[in-house]
């Protein structure tokens, strides 16, 4: 009786612990096959070019693996080279703290057959090297599986995005105009006052 009780207690405890601890990346199974339209090394233009993502369940896994899969979230993720010297893009084991994948492409309900989605690279995506990863969430919105376009070392099949500069000709012109006004106003006042002072001295 006591042993049964302690087993139940330890099961409950481990469930609690698992629930409290964030899911870690290494606990996820790589069960999705994800491919994307950009070739390795291709440079996409922010705001202009499209990415077509295709994903499906890897059929080599036993049936029933996807029993608790609910939604799929596709994200644009930084490759290691773009994470160097940039701690705000660091990869962490604990998924809640992981900053590798910061740009959401799409979230779709899970279906084991082939899915596709075409996405225009948004204008706030920075210039960097990327790959694409899909996270599978269960009904409790917790990550349970993933798939990505690159290998486990994140070294193959990477592509680049060239971001918009954010500059505009109208901004540049406005900037020059206000700067010129500032300088002209300053020297204008200065010489005007000097002349007035000279005039008042003479009179």
């Amino acid at each position: 009786m006591a042993i049964q009780g302690s087993i139940v207690a330890s099961i409950l405890l481990s469930y609690l612990v698992a629930a409290c601890y964030g899911a870690t990346f290494s606990s996820l199974q790589n069960t999705l096959v994800v491919t994307a339209s950009p070739q390795a090394g291709q440079v996409l233009k922010g705001g202009e070019d499209n990415i077509t993502v295709t994903w499906s369940l890897n059929n080599t896994f036993p049936a029933g693996t996807d029993s608790d899969y609910k939604t799929v979230k596709i994200k644009l993720c930084y490759a290691p080279i773009s994470q160097q010297d940039r701690a705000w893009r660091k990869t962490e084991e604990e998924l809640k703290r992981d900053k590798t994948c910061q740009h959401k492409i799409v979230a779709k309900p899970y279906s084991p057959s082939t899915n596709t989605f075409t996405w225009t690279v948004q204008r706030d995506v920075p210039t960097a090297t990327y790959f694409i990863r899909a996270y599978v969430h269960n009904s409790a919105d917790k990550e349970v599986a993933f798939g990505q376009t690159t290998d486990s070392h994140k070294a193959t099949n990477l592509f680049e995005v060239q971001a918009i500069s954010g500059r505009h000709v109208s901004l540049d012109i406005a900037s020059v105009c206000f700067s010129a006004f500032s300088v002209v106003a300053l020297f204008g006042f200065f010489f005007l006052e000097k002349r007035k002072a000279k005039a008042s001295q003479k009179s």
Partner: protein
């Protein structure tokens, strides 16, 4: 009762007590009022105000005060405007941690030189044009942010904007032409503290502007550039206000007046010599680097730190970061007040201990801030850190006027430059390399603050002692007059150049604390109980 000599109530002890060191107004009896002058405030013989009326815009004194501190505030806003927007800028320009760190160093380095030059500019053109020239010539540099497209450009623009921090010098210079020396400490301290607030206000203003601009439909990488136009316009507006509403001197402008100075012009070389050869100058240059310097460094890194470490929204991180800089509104004057209050009982020793305590407190909480893992704890530690560091700035300038009378200007300038140098150094050491995280950098900075505050124990005045040692036993050397007139050679003393210093030495006797020898009791009073 009172007419019986020696009875209670008849003693003259303390009646001629020392003047208050921190005062909102100078008692009329100590400085003669010029009654012929028609100004809003009571003025002295040079027409400098003897009273400080905060909520007045009267020409020329209070108007100058407000124009001056708001100009300085504006320059702080633009110098640190990039800091709260770094999470967006770093993505737009593809910056690395070292790019961001180096730009932060650059933003405070420019003014080391511009502050040194500004003194001469104010002498030549007057403080009004000194301020106006700087603020309007740095407006184009602020507008230049719209052109930036690389790490190098970002660094260059932040460097150029940083030159505008020299408005500190024009601000203090302008105050000293308008306010009597007895209240100049409070006036300058308030102006400096409120100007420094700009570093905090900008952390609120810029994310707010960015949010508003984004709501009108701009993409992030354009919105931050547009946001920079607002500080730029502030520069232009303040420059025009300074030129049209301000005047150099209480009686008018420099170019229209023929000013005959009463004070004999001192030789710059001599003034510099006595500043540089006084070891206390260098200790305070170091110390200010770890009170003002760390304040500037923190202004540059704190918003990004909260954004990244605690996953906050940009304007939330900005709001928290703003409380750091905004604490200046009370913290810096509080430091000056604490210094003066401790001096009443303990004299200069009290001032030195106050400075050490405040600055070490700041350092301790900076260390703890880096270690804090929860948001409420981090914010609490940050606020205590800010009060400690900023109060230490105020307390520093409670001591600086006593280091030297002859070279006060140069020592103040060097100390100010030391602040910027300390900022550049701490940013370079702790927030530029990827070797350690920002959190670790903050902790290390806290340790360095504590270590670099220890030299204050070495500051010794022969007439007042130091933190641990009493004043020198040599009766000759232990006088204020000896200390302040030792800055003049015998020849110069013969010319009477040291008279102002002697006058100052007399008033500085207040730094003996409660040991002040009050006026001698009247000769014909006898104590009640012999």
């Amino acid at each position: 009762m009172a007419d019986i000599e020696g009875s209670p109530g008849s003693s003259m002890h303390g009646v001629t007590g020392r003047e208050p060191v921190l005062a909102f107004s100078v008692a009329s009896s100590t400085v003669p009022t010029d009654t012929t002058a028609k100004f809003d405030l009571p003025v002295d013989s040079e027409h400098k105000a003897k009273k400080f009326k905060l909520f007045s815009l009267a020409n020329p004194h209070m108007r100058t005060f407000h124009l001056s501190w708001i100009s300085f505030f504006t320059c702080f806003v633009s110098t640190f405007a990039a800091a709260p927007l770094v999470p967006i800028i770093r993505d737009n320009l593809n910056l690395t941690k070292s790019d961001i760190g180096n730009a932060g160093v650059a933003s405070v380095s420019g003014s080391i030189f511009s502050r040194l030059v500004m003194g001469a500019v104010c002498d030549l053109l007057g403080p009004r044009y000194g301020c106006a020239f700087l603020i309007m010539m740095s407006a184009p540099t602020v507008f230049c942010m719209s052109f930036v497209s690389s790490a190098g450009g970002y660094l260059a623009v932040r460097f150029m904007i940083g030159f505008s921090l020299a408005t500190f010098v024009s601000c203090q210079y302008w105050m000293s032409t308008m306010f009597n020396t007895k209240i100049i400490g409070l006036v300058n301290g308030t102006a400096a503290g409120w100007g420094n607030m700009g570093g905090g206000a900008t952390q609120l203003i810029m994310p707010l502007l960015y949010d508003i601009i984004r709501r009108t439909g701009s993409t992030p990488f354009t919105a931050w550039r547009i946001a920079f136009f607002i500080p730029g316009w502030l520069h232009v507006i303040m420059g025009i206000l300074v030129m049209t509403l301000g005047q150099d001197l209480p009686d008018g402008n420099l170019s229209a007046l023929q000013k005959k100075g009463e004070v004999a012009k001192d030789k710059f070389g001599k003034v510099l010599l006595y500043a540089v050869t006084n070891y206390r100058t260098w200790i305070f240059v170091l110390l200010y680097g770890y009170s003002m310097g760390v304040e500037l460094s923190t202004d540059n890194v704190i918003a990004e730190y909260f954004y990244d470490r605690f996953d906050l929204k940009l304007h939330t991180a900005g709001t928290i970061a703003a409380t750091f800089g905004m604490a200046n509104i009370v913290a810096r004057p509080f430091g000056g007040f604490a210094s003066d209050y401790s001096a009443r009982k303990f004299g200069m020793r009290g001032r030195l201990w106050t400075l050490w305590i405040l600055q070490t407190l700041g350092g301790t909480f900076c260390l703890l801030l880096g270690r804090a893992n929860s948001l409420p704890l981090a914010v609490t530690f940050m606020i205590i850190f800010s009060v400690g560091a900023q109060a230490a700035c105020g307390a520093t300038f409670g001591i600086i006027p006593f280091i030297s009378r002859r070279s006060l200007g140069v020592i103040s300038g060097m100390t100010g430059a030391g602040g910027n140098f300390g900022s550049g150094l701490t940013q370079l050491l702790f927030f530029t390399s990827s070797k350690y995280s920002t959190a670790t950098g903050l902790s290390y900075m806290g340790i360095m603050i504590i270590a670099c505050t220890l030299p204050v124990t070495l500051v010794h005045f022969p007439q007042w002692g130091s933190m641990f040692l009493p004043p020198t036993k040599d009766a000759d050397k232990a006088s204020e007059e000896h200390y302040y007139s030792s800055e003049y050679t015998e020849e110069e003393k013969k010319k009477g150049m040291h008279h102002n210093s002697l006058k100052f030495a007399e008033t500085s006797r207040s730094e003996r604390g409660s040991r002040v020898v009050s006026a001698p009791t009247p000769p014909n009073s006898t104590p009640n109980h012999v």
